[in-house]
Every structure is written in structure tokens, then in C-alpha cells.
């Protein structure tokens, strides 16, 4: 019973989580100082923390963040326009949907990001390679969630529209699309996160662009503490994006 009460408390679980994190960081620091772990493989956490300043001032991490961010936003804009449009098209033309929905689902399972050498040949070593990979890799969830949202419009809402003798296009714009928006947003959020993951990954792989390239560069310079700090920075950024979009999604979802 006591453990149950502790689990329900608002303070104790975060404290345990954060405490263990801090303890393991401390343990690493001690083990590295004692030479149990070589500091040429894992730099001491204190050194990593120190190099944060360096990567912000010397490596222009903020400009790189803007570069990556604008790539992600371009991909997201393309996803919203193209992905949602394809979803609407497939929903409206039933035969097309029945023919291709399983294909779209299969593409969601395919390792699309592995096509990056192909995109390199087509678009060159330019931001467009990176943007297009993010866009294509994130397309399937956006399409699938758009179809799911439109198909899930409650019968009664459509009947209300029909009783007002709405035209098909009014029915779509005034009833089906608004009611599908929360689900479509789930798809867009998934798409945005997929795009972010793939964009940073491809930046790292082709050594071009923003944050991903920074990690590659620091690693090639054998700047270990800097590499670890840059990785921490990227993780921080993706966690913030994830948490932020989660907030928006919760705010959009109607309370039941």
C-alpha cells in the first residue's frame, strides 16, 4: 500500500527518476576519474557540460538549429499540403483507396530513409535532398491518419448536414474536415517527428546542413566532449519538439 501511495504522489516518481539519472552521471564521473572507464572513450560528464558553451559560441549551434529547423518546417509544410491532399483524394475516391491503402501501409514499414543515396544523385548535396527524404519518409502516416480521421466522422454529424441539405462540398468543408482535424493532426505530428528524425539522421550521414552535420564534424575531429554535448543538444531539441506537439495535440483533441 505504501508503494502505491508513493506512486500516486506527484513529487516522488519524478524525484526517483531524476535522482537515478543524476546518480548515474555522478557514477560515470567517478569511474572515469578513477580510470576504470577510459576518458578517451567516455569523456567525464563535467567536461561534456563545459563544452556546451564551446559548441554554442564556436560551432554556431543556434544557426545550425535554425538550418535544421527550416528544413523540418519545409518538409512539414509539404507534408501538410501533399499528405493531407492525398489522404482526402483517397477517401473521396473509394476505389483508389481500396486499391492503394495497403500499399501506403506497406510503405510505412519500408526503410525509406535508406533511399538517401538515390536522393543524393537526384537532388545533389543540397538541402533539398534532406528535405525530400524527411518528406517522403513521413508521408505514409499523414496519408493514413487523414483517411482514418475522415472515415471516422460520426454518422449523426453527417446526418445533421444532410438535413440542412448541404451540398457535397459544404458537407466536406463544414462537417467532415473539422471533425477529422484532431486525427489529421495526430498524423501530422507523427509526420513532423518522423521528418525531424530522418532529417537529422541524413544530415549526419551526408555531412551537410545543420545539427546532424555538427555531430559528424565533431566526431571526425575527435572532439569527444563536443560530440557528446552535441548529441545531448540534439536529443534535447527532439524531446522539446515532441513534448510541444504533444501539448498542442492534447489541446486540439476534444474532451470526452
Amino acid at each position: 500500500m505504501k508503494a502505491d501511495a508513493m506512486a500516486r504522489s506527484r513529487v516522488i516518481p519524478p524525484l526517483i527518476g531524476f535522482g537515478s539519472l543524476a546518480l548515474s552521471v555522478l557514477a560515470f564521473e567517478v569511474l572515469i576519474r578513477l580510470n576504470v572507464i577510459s576518458k578517451f572513450i567516455v569523456p567525464p560528464p563535467s567536461e561534456i557540460a563545459m563544452s556546451f558553451e564551446r559548441i554554442i559560441v564556436e560551432e554556431h549551434v543556434l544557426q545550425r538549429f535554425v538550418a535544421t529547423g527550416s528544413e523540418v518546417l519545409t518538409a512539414a509544410a509539404m507534408l501538410t499540403v501533399v499528405g493531407v491532399s492525398i489522404g482526402v483524394l483517397l477517401f473521396q475516391v473509394d476505389i483508389l483507396r481500396r486499391a492503394t491503402e495497403t500499399w501506403v501501409a506497406a510503405m510505412a514499414a519500408a526503410p525509406i530513409v535508406l533511399m538517401y543515396p538515390l536522393f543524393l544523385v537526384i537532388f545533389g548535396r543540397s538541402p533539398w535532398t534532406i528535405i525530400m527524404i524527411g518528406f517522403v519518409a513521413a508521408l505514409p502516416p499523414v496519408i493514413l491518419k487523414t483517411i482514418e480521421g475522415l472515415a471516422g466522422t460520426r454518422r449523426v454529424l453527417i446526418n445533421v448536414g444532410r438535413s440542412f441539405s448541404m451540398s457535397e462540398s459544404q458537407l466536406f468543408w463544414k462537417i467532415m474536415l473539422p471533425s477529422a482535424l484532431p486525427t489529421i493532426f495526430v498524423g501530422l505530428r507523427l509526420g513532423l517527428i518522423f521528418a525531424l528524425i530522418n532529417i537529422v539522421g541524413v544530415e549526419f550521414l551526408i555531412n551537410f546542413g545543420g545539427l546532424g552535420q555538427l555531430i559528424n564534424e565533431l566526431a571526425e575531429r575527435y572532439d569527444l566532449a563536443g560530440t557528446y554535448a552535441a548529441i545531448c543538444f540534439v536529443i534535447l531539441v527532439s524531446i522539446i519538439v515532441f513534448a510541444l506537439t504533444e501539448r498542442i495535440e492534447r489541446w486540439l483533441t476534444p474532451a470526452n
Binding site: 506512486a7 527518476g17 537515478s20 572513450i41 481500396r98 544523385v121 528524425i197 557528446y228
Partner: protein, 265 residues
Amino acid sequence: MAHAGQLTAARTPRPALADPVTMVRIAIIVGVLAFWEVLSRSGWLYRDVVPSLVAISKAVGELLIDKDYYWNLGWTGFEVAVALGIGGVGGLLAGLILGSNKLLGKSFEPYLYYLGPTPKIIFFPVMIMWFGIGPGSKIALGTISCFFPIALSTAAGMRQIKPVLISVGRTYRANAWQMMTKIYIPAMRHPIINGIRLGLGVAIIGTLLAETKLSNKGIGFLIINAYSTFDMPRMYALLIVLFVLSIGVNALVGRFGGLDKIKRS
């Protein structure tokens, strides 16, 4: 006459071959292939960016009889399998612990939840430092990729078990091990299989991406090698075979785990 034919065709059930969905599918495939071939012969794009279908099919054929390809496929398969083994068992254990203990779950699950959707490939330089430039670092990257989805869906699955099943186990005074093997795991096989399916997908991506970055064997290496020698038909062939394999394996895991029957039950 054509008009009348359309009307009757709409009313009477058609034979399987003329199923409209199949017809549309065939039409789309034929259309895309025709467009591709026109594009490749038109010369609008740089030569070889869109190789002709003949060249691609020839490359697929050559690939499938190439001994070297199977040797590399074996390495990649081995790396993915080991990664899925380590990451899967680790994820399963972590999920079981976090799912069964409320306090630990609330303390540590947020970390997994927020670390899950971060790009894993950026850990590759660190993995090279820890495990060397051989298959070890690729396995490590596949392992951290697949750990998160498996742990998260196991923990979520554990909390969705109907309380009545747990009560039945308790009534029979099952001990912890029996509860685990007789109640928990059978009751949550669907979320577990789903987690494994997701994990397999990201393990394949993680391993292959790492191979394209730095390696001397594996499918990822073959892809990046085809890129650097500008052998476009071979690159298309490798990608096509890889996509077919990974979609196939994914579908197989889903079917084997009975995921296709979930909606009916």
C-alpha cells in the same frame, strides 16, 4: 452497345480477374512503369538517374544470382537478428518491470517515452568508440533503436491486461514466475508482437544506416558502394530487393503474431 455493357457489368458480380480494385491496381502499376520508361528515354533528367526498366530488371536478376550479395545479406541479417535479440530481451524485461511496478513505471517511463522518438543514428560515432568499426557498432545501433518501441509497448500492454485475469492467477496462488508465464505474457502477446514488429523495422533502419556510414560489408555497404561507383541500376535493384524483404518480414511478423485478427476479437 458499350453503354449497355457497362450497365450490366455494374449489376452482375464480376469474375475475380475483372475485380475493379485489381483493375485499378494493375492500371496504376502499368501507368507508373510506362511513365518511368518514358522519363528514362526522354533524356530530360541526367543520364542514368532514371535508368530504363530493362536495365533495372537486369540488375535485379544479376543481384539475385550474385554470391557476394548473399554473403553481405547474411552479415546484415546476422547484425539485425543479434540487435533484435539483445534489444528485444532488454526491452521486454524493462517493459515488464515498468509495467508491473507503478512506482518504477512512473519514475522511469517518461524517460523512455521521450527518448524513444529521437534520431538514433547520431549515436553512431559514440558506438564506434565503444564497439569498434566492425559489426559490433552496427549491432549496438540496431539494439538501441529497437529497445525503445519494444519496452514501451510491453509496458503499455501490461497495464491493459484485464484485472480479472490477474485475479484468477492470484486466486490460484500463482507465484511471480507463474504469473509472468501463464497470465501476463499470454494476455499481452499482441502488444508485444506489435512492439517487436516496430522494433524490427527500426533495427533494420538503424543497422543499415550505420552500414552506409562506415563499414566494409552488409547491404548498407553495397548500397553506398553502388552510389560511389555511380552504378544506378544496381542501386535501384538493391533498394527494391531491400524494400521487398523488409515489408515481407514485417508482414510475416504481423501475421505470425495474429495481428491481422485483432480487430475481429
